[in-house]
Symmetry: C2
Subunit: 205 residues, 2 copies
């Protein structure tokens, strides 16, 4: 039996954050596929009773703990493993800032946008991407500086998925983001979300 | 000179989280009004240079620290004051879960919705409010249990603003939410956002 179990599906950038972290820290983990698109399994009474009462994906199972929200899972795994962990109080607050910012404005926007493309809203606050492009990643290799932390792992959530799924190509338009995504790709254990989690490709529907 | 300075304006539920926390812990603080609606001061080069380069509101100034993201400010103040602080690792992870969930799905949705009412989108995932109504607050007085924590202070962000500003009345429709809002109101130092932060009413525009 694996130490960690992750309830996930390949199309979920939120789940990808957790799956990527597990892989990068070399954890003994296994994915359990949640049939989100077909049976909407996450909303079933069985899933709500046994995995997560709010019907959330991802959920990390570790012993008797069941954690949801990828930002919480990242924090928990960083503390457990001491990998990708912010090194000081300032760094910890800064990592938290990025994780919340990400969930609210970056991937919190990209995820639904990708899912609901027909609404055709613009991809978040232009200031968000302008900032990533012009300030942070032009002067340092990772979000908090020289070392990758959970802030990086949170922010990449949807950024490795095919540009065709969004209708625009963030990496092609922002060279600093592209270089940063490449740097994270070189970390031992990195995998593309479709290689790391089950459920791709979707069956014909 | 006050110990804490909060850059804020009365209409911001995000700023309200921080202002309310400062008041509830009895901090020595003063608000500095950001002219968001008139001059869009938060986007000025002066604000970006001196307060927050991303043009965010709220910003908490404490000594040489400048913190943005209300979830970060809440965490920082809880650790500094030991008030509203989660008491164990489990509680800490649970509070973080709620703060991210809130920024992503609850107030992260209500804020823009209120601001952009003409888009007339529904107020977030119905599961969010159903959960708050039916599960958590029906069985315990506060989000994490018997004591109020930063998770509560995050979640109330927009919920005391007038129902007319939203076009629907959450408290009237959900008695457990109404009772919870009333409980938080009884905490020493509680104030309505329009009484706690400068900038209300807006001048005629």
């Amino acid at each position: 039996m694996s130490e960690y179990t992750l309830y996930c599906f390949a199309q979920s950038g939120n789940a990808y954050r957790a799956a990527l972290m597990l892989n990068l820290i070399g954890a003994d983990w296994k994915p359990v596929w949640v049939d989100f698109f077909g049976k909407a399994e996450q909303r079933s009474s069985e899933y709500r009773a046994n995995v997560n009462e709010m019907g959330e994906v991802p959920v990390l199972e570790h012993g008797t703990r069941r954690l949801s929200q990828s930002g919480v899972i990242l924090t928990y795994l960083a503390e457990r493993s001491s990998k990708f962990r912010p090194a000081s109080e300032d760094e910890r607050l800064e990592a938290l800032r990025w994780i919340i910012f990400d969930n609210q404005k970056v991937n919190g926007f990209l995820g639904p946008y990708r899912f609901l493309r027909t609404l055709a809203r613009p991809p978040g606050d232009p200031a968000v991407l302008a900032f990533l492009k012009g300030r942070i990643l032009s002067t340092r290799p990772f979000i908090l500086g020289e070392r990758p932390t959970i802030a990086d792992l949170s922010l990449v959530a949807y950024l490795y998925y095919p540009a065709a799924e969004f209708g625009f190509d963030i990496a092609a338009e922002h060279k600093h983001i592209a270089a940063w995504l490449d740097r994270i790709k070189t970390l031992p254990g990195w995998k593309h979300p479709y290689d790391l989690m089950p459920g791709h490709p979707l069956p014909n529907r």
